[in-house]
């Protein structure tokens, strides 16, 4: 379970977050929806311990990220904004390295790697160095790296950004699978139909504030619009005027 409350964050002269609060429950997929620059990545970076909030807190399974960073990070699997890989390491070596950073024993690590390679269809690329991987192949390695330690909470920052149809479908399948396993999945996106199809809960963020939160139907209702995309636009514009 992931909770953030009253997050405020400023960079130099820009106020990125003006008090963001939301939560994501276990066995549910929560979508963080918002236009570019709304504060999605900043919120997530605070959540996984990369940035410190000016005020407010972020908790993972009740552990405050600022106070108990290492314990909180251990319970979290992250697909961050940066998709950088080590070009000279193979896909399997990536999993091994990040698994070891989480303190996983070698035999568990091997089992889990094989499982993820099957799950993500990586059989042909598992033992190749990642140099020259396609966007989709890179994304698979990033996902495997995020899931290697079987975390209870998953945060995905724009997981389908720049992917082809096949890989996008694969990622969506994976998100559904993770929900069925009872995990807490939080992902950010600016693609409306993706969010409406996948999510149990939606959090709409605009101008550094949460403008709506709830099940998709409730959000449509609060904006007075049939279509989720229209609802999103109206809510975002309402926030911009404030």
């Amino acid at each position: 379970m992931i909770e953030v409350s009253g997050l405020r964050k400023s960079f130099a002269e820009v106020t990125a977050l003006k008090g963001v609060s939301f939560s994501a429950q276990n066995a549910k997929v929560t979508g963080l929806l918002g236009p570019n620059g709304a504060g999605k990545s900043t919120s997530l970076r605070i959540l996984y311990g990369l940035l410190k909030p000016d005020t407010g807190w972020a908790k993972i399974d009740g552990l405050d990220v600022s106070l108990e960073r290492l314990k909180a990070q251990a319970r979290l699997g992250v697909l961050p904004d940066g998709h950088g890989l080590y070009a000279r390491l193979t896909a399997r070596e990536h999993m091994a390295f990040f698994g070891r950073l989480h303190g996983i024993s070698p035999d568990v690590l091997e089992q889990r790697s094989d499982e993820l390679i099957r799950m993500l269809d990586m059989q042909t690329i598992a033992d190749r160095r990642t140099e020259g991987f396609s966007q989709g192949e890179r994304m698979k390695v990033c996902l495997a790296r995020a899931l290697i330690h079987s975390p209870d909470n998953i945060v995905l920052d724009e997981p389908t950004n720049g992917l082809d149809v096949m890989t996008t479908r694969k990622v969506r399948e994976l998100i559904n699978e993770l929900r069925q396993l009872g995990l807490c999945v939080l992902f950010s996106s600016h693609i409306m139909h993706e969010v409406s199809r996948l999510c149990d809960e939606i959090v709409i963020i605009a101008e550094g504030q949460v403008v709506a939160q709830g099940v998709p139907d409730a959000i449509r209702e609060s904006a007075g619009e049939e279509n989720l995309e229209d609802a999103f636009v109206i809510l975002s514009e309402r926030a911009a005027r404030l």
């Binding site: 996984y48 990070q73 998709h83 950088g84 000279r88 390295f97 990040f98 950073l101």
Partner: protein, 387 residues
């Protein structure tokens, strides 16, 4: 401990697979001894060349006794009749001796007799020849003076005055060590060159390829991340440095240094002492490189900062060469300076105090750890991720 091993192993694998950067880093250890060999061979050749000075003389027939004196001292005198200034400008001759036609008359009248030495004072390569000939003319003159005094019944000892007496107390090894003072420069430079590729790649490179963020979201203390990178870079740096040391020593042993009047001997027991003395240098070099790599805005930025760092080991070497200070114990506390001194002393077969090993080791390692702590703090700052 497991965590640190995982970090170290990953950096090592990554670093060793980076063939291109590895080759360019390890070019240095093999280049340095080659350079020494070339330089020293040239020096030996110049110094041992049997000096048959050829001296073109104008009007040699006017001063047969002087010419005889020159011949007796191994100068090959040849008659010369061209324009001396032009010939020197053309570099066809180094020096021309011109004896005036009134030489005999002037000598007979006991007047001051001048012989012309025409040369180009801006040429370094003829300086030795000029001073040799000048010295021979002076010695001829003083012999002549003595004879003149004797013929008048005066002892030549009356005009002897003061003369310097040469007493060089440096042992042959010490004189050699002075010549060898660039070995510490090369060896310490190798420490700064060989780990450089990995140090940049794992800091500025890590950020530029956007793999720093995925790394930092793992439950790993920042200091451990730095330690993993630091130890991996230091390993490469230390290997390169020891290779440079061994190859430089081997080169020195292979050279016929005794022909220069130096003796360079190396007991087997000295090598471990040398290695022990310089071992903390890679730790210092790599900690500085990591810090600069994290501090730099981009990969290119990091390369230029860290490139400047390579000059660092040259500084104490140069200072010691041109400003020879008496060694005192505090100097061993200064990283790089302490190690430069110890290499010089060990190569010169001078005793090195135990305190020197301890002080230089402790202070250099402590400085490196301090720099690592700063680097870990830097890694905790948001600036590092934001770029």
């Amino acid at each position: 401990m497991n965590l640190l091993r995982a970090l170290y192993q990953k950096e090592m694998i990554d670093g060793l697979r980076d063939r291109r950067s590895l080759f360019s880093s390890f070019f240095f250890p093999f280049l340095a001894p080659l350079f020494i060999y070339g330089l020293m061979t040239l020096m030996i050749e110049q110094n041992t060349k049997k000096e048959t000075i050829e001296l073109p003389v104008i009007g040699g027939e006017y001063a047969p006794a002087l010419i005889q004196h020159l011949l007796e001292n191994g100068i090959e005198v040849t008659a010369f009749s061209d324009d001396p200034e032009q010939a020197i400008r053309d570099k066809s001759v180094d020096l021309v001796l011109e004896i005036p036609a009134d030489y005999q008359a002037s000598m007979a009248a006991f007047e001051l007799t001048r012989v012309g030495m025409i040369h180009d004072g801006s040429r370094n390569d003829t300086r030795a020849t000029v001073s040799r000939v000048r010295q021979l003319i002076r010695s001829y003159s003083s012999e002549l003076n003595a004879l003149r005094l004797i013929s008048r019944g005066i002892s030549p000892r009356l005009i002897q005055g003061v003369q310097p007496k040469n007493e060089d107390i440096a042992s042959e090894e010490q004189r050699a060590a002075n010549i060898l003072s660039y070995i510490p420069i090369y060896v310490l430079m190798a420490a700064f060159v060989c780990g450089l590729g990995l140090a940049i790649d794992t800091t500025a490179g890590e950020r530029e390829r956007r793999s720093l963020e995925p790394l930092l979201i793992n439950p790993v203390p920042r200091l451990k991340l730095i330690f993993g990178k630091w130890l991996a870079a230091s390993t490469l740096s230390a290997v390169g440095m020891v290779i440079t040391l061994i190859l430089c020593l081997w080169t020195m042993l292979a050279l016929p240094l005794d022909e220069l009047g130096f003796r360079f001997s190396l007991a087997k027991s000295q090598i471990p002492l040398l290695v022990l003395a310089i071992l903390p240098v890679p730790l210092l070099a790599c900690s500085l490189q990591l810090l600069l790599g994290l501090f730099a805005k981009s990969f290119k930025d990091a390369q230029s900062y860290i490139g400047i760092l390579v000059i660092l080991p040259v500084v104490p070497g140069l200072v010691l060469q041109f400003y020879p200070v008496t060694t005192s114990l505090w100097m061993y506390l200064v990283p790089i300076l302490g190690q430069s001194l110890m290499i010089k002393e060990l190569l010169g077969a001078e005793p090195v105090a135990f305190a020197a090993y301890f002080l230089s080791f402790a202070s250099t390692v402590a400085t490196s750890l301090g720099i690592c702590l700063i680097a870990a703090r830097l890694l905790d700052q948001e600036r590092v991720i934001q770029g």
